[in-house]
Symmetry: D2
Subunit: 377 residues, 4 copies
């Protein structure tokens, strides 16, 4: 693992996710931008001292030559470092699990994606929400035609935590997220809009063709958008709205997706992730619960407990990790990755996400909110 | 009453609304485009035969000269007839309660608004949802600063009932709503988007300055939009999204408003209209119920039952009617209209609504979705 | 109308209910225990001075001899007065709509029920909640076998408003409700438990056979129970719990019914009365909305607006009133009362309710909570 | 681990719980009543062959003499085997984590509890739901007086899965649960009622003094109750209802607790475990979310993710396991167990649960539903 040290947010979730299904052992890391802090963190986490590295380059060098070298590295650092770190590990022949957004520029994203392809290493991106079983169920339902042709795709991801200028009050996570150099061009749209965008495409299977956007910065002095409104046109004529916000008071982690087709609709809300509301044309809304026997394979393999025994965010993340494991093992063995490998967010998904953010910012900044086509979709 | 005959939708609601608070007697009407059907409907509704008119012109003529002439007429006909009917009654010296959208063109709307002003007659427009007590509470909370400066305004009005081509299967209401000549230029945006737009402005007190829109028609052969996505910019920098849809399977009458300010947020959903969810910055969401003693005046005068005894759509419509009565009486008596008259949707609101629809359609049709300023706001 | 004067609660609801469907005119009354206050209230309500009576006996005398005498009287006074007032009107040949509980003793209830039968007058009791369309739908679903044989019936009616000793702080409604002489023996169980009991029987069609109860009084100095727990055994082996409480903080008017059968279950909550949740054995919960075309007759005739346009408490009360009207007219005309007359709460229902309260109090007070059979069921 | 082999339910959850917080390694087991199946399961789970035992006695013998002997054993077998297995491990000097109900008779429960005391070994019982952070928050709120004196305690635990005779159709879990010899005297009340009973006591801190119960068996041929209604009297005058059901169609795992005090109320629902609804006297209901900074210590130490990132059943179970670890370590080290050790379900809780079930069955079977005092509370 690179990053994810003391006081970091997402690294800890990666560690839970690696552990829960028992597919991974955490044996090495460069956990912190501050080498000393990283070592002390490593010690607390039962990492051998000689595999706690002062920085990621040291880790690449150190691990590459070991017999028991790591199989895969998880990159849990701020956005701007994803590219050099991932590049270094790929080039050294390691598989890589990279946090989103994959990079901060489209150029880097293309380069990284290509590098993954050319090295033949695995490069996955942690679009967390595609790990939820009911998101897989939704995807399968759309694919199987339960909704008919998709017409409207509404997705939103509002958050409250940056509603005030906490980046000036010592909040580590907010600090780099509001710094264009570390975060990239897209504020809320890059940080969470990219999740929403991936979710919408993941469930509907539709490619977005063009975006028209209106960005805003509400907290004074902030350099990046903290609220984004995006109109989206999908292939085949479907239309969508995407809203991301870091200033939405009352919204803890309010990712919601609604898909409307010719014959039915689906609604999923991340804060009640064990349920999917499905309504057939002129029918009564049905609440479909995770864990039911009659769900599709994709949902069933990603479930650990019966209906009514809630699973959550850590389990979703675990599903990603177990999916990465399945794909990596399949790559080694040549055997198929099975249900668990299906829909795993790849470096191409990472590239699409970065390109989406870029187009959204361009629409707003350079085209006065006018429609811009998406390069990668 | 003009319109609202056998098989009509909204006329019956007007009659409930007129009756519930006992401010009105229904004594005359031209209830149907078909005179005979109108008479037979009138008979069933205890209207004297000589006050059941074959058409609205006959009604104007017949009523104008009676000693016991009507005080006010309710216009419950399809959109394209609002203008001539309202004009005739205003010119004849009657007060008018007109259905939305007030007219089908901006020119007509300006003319009608001016006519109301110049004749000194009352001309109100039935933006139903502003009759709900918790909508008044929301408005008062914003006005009193509970949310601080408003940043984001999300409003949506999705419906299912026109998800298929029912206009070709004999549905009377869908038939004229999909006919540009009778309905006006805006399909979903004119029929229901206009409600959403009014609600957002009513609660926030903000003027919309510009719109950028993406319209779509999903049901084959339909001449007007049945889905509209609109980005809105409000004065003072607030941003909004508005979604109206007639093809949203699973949504019965899904009008929802969410307002996010610097210090708090509000959410209201028309299908659970007795509640308002208010969240203070970093606070726990509070569910505020209609009927509480500590609500503001505007909510309290519009309430008939204690908390937990649900009131609904008919009561909201009644509140509009009782508000119209208060304003009309105040006009006659010179006394103030009181809380009940506060916020009554006026002909200027009607004009704003028509202008909004026009700008939305223009943005989409003539400016490729680009930003257009609003003329009346 | 008797009772329902200035500051009274339920009388005003009766007046809305009488007006909304246009089946009644309010023309006479003895509105208040204080004659003067009653007259002044009558004046404000457009009642002719000579039909505003100083007391109910005066009203019986005054109305009985008029040509335009009232058809039916509504009794909206505290419980202990229902018996003498209803008796006087029935004996004088008037139809009677009586508030619940019908009387304060079983003896009176038997006598009143018998008097209704022997005089041939209509005597209905306002079990409000049986007026809701979705309650009728639930009843029809059970009757048609959608749930299979009923096994478990859970009903509860918790309220907050008497959680403190408001009867000592000038609250008129609480004052007589906590006075055994005016209220009868059952505190919460008589006031609201009786509604819950009727609802459970109404929907399931099951007769209760025996009860075992635990009553409590939590507010100091209160003479009657303010919380009641009752175990119920129904014919055919079904079992139930009933909870009524006047001290349940956070519960505005929390009447809820859940019925579990061999093949399905139903849930209804009075605060969201437009929905019914139905679950088939091992199926996904379906949310059935009022106003759908495919509902049963009993629900459809009691509905005024399409799905998503909420109806509430006043509409439910109106449905009772319109049902009373249908039954009374049918009685006059000899024609059938139709769907609207179906399930109208009768004096026998009133008697059953009083007998239930009596048995519950006896179980607790005289049998240490042991099982007692119900006399009338 | 004893039990929890191929096709078993709860053993797998124990393994997740042991792993997630990294306090345990699973190194030995007698996983199955069938030794061969147990070995093959052990192999799949990376257990050394010589530590996969044919039965629990072999495991006691085998482990007791090893240098690297296990620290603690988890008993995940059907109810009737808990006693002999726990006894054997305690006597051999192992700490024990035992599934609920601790034993099938009160005598055994007393004996086991005493054995735990006399050996000085740890003996904990997995009352799963007390692992949820918001349950700890609720408990802390009651203890700190947020609700004032508790008046009413409503708890229910309805399930659907045994609504038909699945025990005759090869369902392993249902088979032993409906066999009095393996399950003990209480059907639904022993299986899930005991969870509800513990939860109510855990949150309120109140001792139950007496119960009066009505049991029913709805599925034909079943030997034990599948539905139980219990009235409870708590010390200090609080009253409660407890409902457990295995035939409640539509209820996946519907454990719900509501506590009403003099000054406020609390509601918690296991299927939405990240929220607690708190209402102050005459206040607006507040939805308190897990993960907030202002929660009490007990909730905060049991939380891994921020608000809006749902945690669930596995995390709750993990919290129990980490609590057991804290208590066991504290016992070894003499240092205090800290927040994580607080409220850990002990063998005395296990004994109380078994005594509760016994009293409920006795009330129903021997006292015709009359009140029975509880021996251990
Ligand atoms: N998938 C999701 O849902 C999700 C959620 C949150 C964050 N993220 C992503 O995870 C990444 C990290 O976000 P966070 O909120 O955890 O950030 P954070 O600030 O909490 O943690 C970043 C960690 O990286 C370390 N670090 C920084 N530079 C480093 C370097 N050069 N070498 C080694 N370590 C370095 C820091 O010391 C810190 O420990 C971001 O890319 C973010 O977008 C994804
Ligand atoms: N405020 C709201 O929430 C709301 C809701 C629904 C409809 N509306 C508006 O109400 C109006 C009517 O809609 P509806 O759905 O009730 O339509 P409808 O088709 O159900 O009814 C229209 C009625 O008008 C009569 N009519 C038509 N032309 C007439 C004429 N020239 N003279 C007399 N009567 C005539 C018809 O015979 C019919 O009875 C529309 O403007 C609509 O936008 C408002
Ligand atoms: N159906 C329901 O859901 C429902 C709801 C509330 C009340 N109720 C019932 O309605 C009845 C009235 O309750 P309330 O809460 O409205 O009481 P209230 O105290 O608010 O009103 C009682 C009214 O009766 C008048 N009154 C008293 N004695 C009278 C007499 N002898 N003659 C004429 N008028 C007299 C009082 O002056 C007052 O106007 C009770 O029986 C109660 O149980 C039913
Ligand atoms: N805490 C909770 O929420 C919860 C939930 C479910 C079950 N439980 C409890 O867990 C226990 C097991 O329930 P389950 O549903 O997992 O049962 P199960 O039938 O699914 O599994 C029982 C397992 O025990 C094994 N087994 C039986 N006898 C054995 C023996 N003598 N030696 C070794 N292994 C043996 C079986 O082979 C099987 O693997 C029960 O006591 C039950 O009440 C608790």
């Amino acid at each position: 693992m690179v990053g994810g040290g003391e006081g970091a947010y997402i690294g800890g979730i990666h560690r839970f996710a690696a552990r829960l299904d028992n597919h991974y052992d955490l044996v090495a890391g460069a956990f912190d931008v501050d080498a000393e802090r990283g070592h002390s963190f490593a010690a607390k986490n039962f990492i051998d001292r000689d595999r706690s590295y002062g920085d990621y380059l040291g880790m690449v060098t150190g691990e590459r030559t070991r017999d028991d070298r790591i199989d895969v590295v998880a990159i849990c650092t701020p956005n701007h470092t994803h590219f050099p770190i991932a590049k270094a590990f790929l080039e050294a022949g390691f598989d890589v699990i990279c946090e989103k957004p994959m990079t901060t520029t489209v150029e880097d994203a293309i380069a990284l994606h290509d590098l993954g392809q050319s090295t033949g290493r695995f490069l996955g991106v942690t679009y967390t929400y595609s790990g939820y079983p009911m998101v897989h169920e939704a995807r399968a339902m759309v694919a199987r035609g339960d909704l008919g042709k998709v017409r409207v795709v509404q997705v939103e991801y509002p958050l409250e935590w940056m509603a005030t200028g906490i980046e000036l009050q010592g909040n580590q996570q907010a600090a780099w997220r509001t710094d264009p150099k570390k975060n990239g061009r897209g504020g809320s749209i890059g940080d969470i809009g990219t999740h929403a965008y991936h979710l919408a495409g993941f469930v509907t299977g539709l490619k977005a063709e063009a975006v028209a956007a209106d960005l805003a910065t509400f907290v004074e002095g902030r350099a990046l958008d903290d609220n984004a409104h995006v109109m989206i046109r999908y292939e085949g004529g479907a239309r969508g709205l995407l809203w991301s916000s870091q200033v939405a008071i009352g919204q803890s982690n309010g990712l919601r997706l609604r898909v409307f087709g010719e014959n039915g609709s689906l609604a999923w809300h991340q804060e009640q992730p064990n349920e999917l509301v499905f309504t057939r044309l002129f029918g009564a809304p049905e609440t479909i619960k995770r864990g039911r026997d009659d769900l599709t394979d994709g949902a069933r393999v990603r479930t650990r407990t019966p209906p009514g025994h809630p699973e959550g965010y850590i389990e979703a993340f675990t599903n990603l990790y177990s999916g990465f494991a399945a794909v990596i093992r399949a790559k080694e063995s040549g055997a198929p990755a099975g249900s668990f490998g299906e829909g795993i967010p790849s470096s191409y998904d990472g590239l699409k996400g970065v390109a989406f953010v870029d187009a959204v910012v361009d629409s707003h900044e350079k085209h006065n909110g006018g429609w811009l086509p998406l390069q990668f979709a």
